[in-house]
Structures are given as C-alpha cells and as structure tokens.
Point group: C2
Chain length 287, copies 2
Amino acid sequence: MFCKPGKGRQFGGIFNNAILAVGSIGFFPLQTSYLSPPNVPDMQLFFTTDIIGQRAALPADEARHCVQVLRKKPGDRVQFIDGEGGMFTGRILEVGKKSCVIAVEEEERNYQPLPAAVHLAVAPTKNISRIEWLLEKATEIGLTAFHPFFSEHSERKVLKPERLEKIALSAAKQSGRAYVPKIMPAVPFADFLEQAPVCEQRFAAYLGEGVKGSLKLNYRPGADVCLLIGPEGGFSPREAALAASKGYALVSLGPNRLRTETAALAACHTVNLINQDFHTRLDDRSL
Amino acid sequence: MFCKPGKGRQFGGIFNNAILAVGSIGFFPLQTSYLSPPNVPDMQLFFTTDIIGQRAALPADEARHCVQVLRKKPGDRVQFIDGEGGMFTGRILEVGKKSCVIAVEEEERNYQPLPAAVHLAVAPTKNISRIEWLLEKATEIGLTAFHPFFSEHSERKVLKPERLEKIALSAAKQSGRAYVPKIMPAVPFADFLEQAPVCEQRFAAYLGEGVKGSLKLNYRPGADVCLLIGPEGGFSPREAALAASKGYALVSLGPNRLRTETAALAACHTVNLINQDFHTRLDDRSL
C-alpha cells in the first residue's frame, strides 16, 4: 500500500530500473521512500496540531526546518501528521523564517493504526541513552504509550519528559507513523499500577521458575496489552505483590538474560510481529 | 531451566520470598541471576580461550577485572566461556594483578546453541554508535555472525573490528551466552556475496511492491539464515542484480519504515522468536 511512482527522490529512478532488472529482488528503503507502495508518507514528514479547516500552520521549529533547512517554498507539496492518527498532504501557501502555512489538500484520519494498543512500562535505566534508544526503536516498531516508573531499586530517580517526547515524535516521523506514542509522566511504581491503562492482557517479563510460557504463546493477537519490564535492580517484594494483585501474568522472553531495554524492545516486537498477521486478516493489507 | 537456588546474590533472597508471596508473578532478572533456572551462568561471566586440560588462565584484562575490580581470591568459584560454546565452572587457584589461574571443575560444550545459524549482513551506518548498538542487541537476542559490508552508497567506508569484537564479547557474557558472534571483516558488497556463508535461506528485507510476504511467514523454523539489510543510501542497480543472482528473496518486515539498525534487529528477533518454539520442540525445553 506504500507507493509513490514517479517521485523524483534520490534513488527512485535507479531503483525502479534495478528492480525491473532483477525481478523480485529488492532492498529495504531505509531512509528514502523509493519504490514505496501507495500512501507512503514523504521521507520528510512534518508535525503540527495547528490545523483549522483546510489550513494548517507548522510550529516554529518545524517551520524553520521546512523553510530554512529544506528550503521549501510556496506551492511545494508537503506531508504532515498531527500525532493522533491524522496524515495530511497539502501545498505551502506562505512562508516566513519560522512560519509555514499550508493549504490542506488531502487528509486521512486514523492512518495505519496499530491492530492493538501496546503499552510499555519500564523503569528508566541508570544510563539515560538506553531508554532514549528504546523509545526510538519501540516507536518505529509500534508503540501506543510509554510508561516510565520509579521502583524501589531504580537507580534513576528523575526523568525529564521533554527530550523523550522529541525522540518519540522524531521516530514517528522517521518511520512514517501518524500516531506519536504518548509519554506518560514518570511516577512511583505503585502509582503506575493504580493509573495503568485498562488492557485486555497484562504481562510481566520474567526468566525463571514458575514461568507459564513465552510471551509469544500467551499473547492473544489483537489484544490491547500492557508489558511490564523490571528495572535493573529488581522489584521489591512489596512491588511484586502489588503487581500480582493487578493481574500481571508471568511470561518468558526466551532463555537468555536480556538487558532492560533489550527485553522491553523484544517484548514490544513480539506483540507487533504477532499482530502483523492479525493486521493482514483484519483488512487484507499486504505485508 | 535457569535456576540457582540458594545463590546469595543481591536480590535472590527477597525475590524468593516475593515469589512465594505472590504466586506465579515474577519479574525479569535483568542484571542479576536471582531466581534463574538451572544452568544459568553467573552474572559475571569471564572469557578465555587459554584452557589446557583442567587448567585455565584468564587473559590480562579479564584477570584484572576478576582480581582487582571484583576482588576474587583463590578458592572463589568463577564461571567462564570460551566463546565457542564452552561454559566452564572452576575455582581460582592463584591470582596476580593481571593473572588468574583457574582449576576447571565442570564444563559443558555446545552450551545452549542457537537452533539455527543467524548471519546478519548490514552496511555500517554513518553513525557508528547505531551499529554498535545493533551488535550488542543482536548478540543478546541471538546471532551467529555479523557481516558488515560497504556498498556504493555507504556513507561509512571504514569499520574497525576491534571495538565491535569487544562489544560482541561483552554482550555475550552479559546475556549468559557461551557463543560469541563472529565479527567478519568489512568488505565490499560484491566480496560479501562471494564469501557469504552457505545458508538454507537468504532474505533481503524490503518494503515495497513485489514483496512476496513477510520474513515471519517465509522463514522456515530451524533453517540457517542469512539476513541482508540495505544501507541508508540504498543499493546500486549493479549491487541489486548481484544479490539477486545469489538468491536473496524479497521479504517485508512490516508496513513501516525502519532505520537500518532497527530493521536488522527486527529481522534477527523475528528469526529467533520463531525458533523459540522450534527450540522447544527440539528438546522440550521450557521457554
């Protein structure tokens, strides 16, 4: 469903030729939209929530990037998202140094929603870059909301949401997603359990005795899910009892030790991989 | 199968109590081995290839870490790997500032092999940290060998293997793996295709028209596999034709754009996740 024939992007031409030459062989379009099926968003997606009727305005930083870095001009076609599932195409009406007004020509609401909500609850690692990395990758793969929590053994006690929000937005634009994962405020673990989203399935990843099976075998395709990944230092007994009382089921992610962020991404990818098929069955999309 | 009851590690005691208190609920032992099933290696695994009969010596940097950082002494129990599937347990015989001699007491060859060889071929990204991250995570999840290649559009033209080898070793020890992924020398793309490992299945990840299906649906459980992930700039027509002549089949990793390193890890995890079940069927291991 992602195709933009005739788009004069960097490698589009040679790749069309290459594919004709080699039959069904092709390669993953990582940073370009060459050979993408219909509806693929532009490589450069913008973001704004300032959309009134058929007129949209980019916020200052997005406008600056559009106008000063990419040198877009009135009449140029642009695509943007609202972060809530809206994918828009329009033409630039007028530009300033930090402003860009767009006439909306096409819009699609609820653009490629995930087949199921994926909530990921993780205690931030001591090394903040590992959490930032996790958020970027989980967003690319498919994430509804990120719920950081502080547990008794957490080494990190502060987490600033602003940078995480930028990372989630950037990764969503990068991967052509119209939904930007929500970054929930970091709260104490007990508070998270109280406020946790209502999901059909809740899992706590675990490697040890008493595991009922793998996440893969226990996750029901299409089910909204909350995935709980323990902190580097482990939960306290009080925290474990609290989680149990909220119905988190014990599952394995495989026989090996995984770091916090690896476990979290593996859990997220497992759910989304299972839902690839569910997705296909739902609306007969090609994978 | 990973359990070490009675091991006096940091959170082992309280976690055993916690689990007794909360029934089947438990959490993922990320940086500790508490509640790990039988055979789980120590949190701190060492590495050496200097093993002669029942006597092993750690290399200088490992010995230094063991003796000076962890303050291990003669008589202390240690576990180590040889990187080729050997998992050893022994007691320290004698130590120096940069030396540590161990009497081997137990050894297991071919410790937890992957159910299938997973070869990952990727063009290094411009930002080297993204490749280093990929290698760390792929090693945790399960990787046989890493094959970097330079293609015509690669922005990075140099790749030093030493640091990558350290990352692979560190991640293997961290995740309790006895096999350390081989880091192959970075070579031109055409040379990679000539030298590529013989695998039962070969895939090139792709998002676009002509995709036969997903990697998930095309991968045959237990099959040795070579996964080819395109560079940031795309392959040239000549490169695409070359790969086609080597039988790389076109598969999708899902409908969204993924960065090079995300695509590579997703492909790797997809194969290993499918093989989790294959693994179970092979030897009835619990997951």
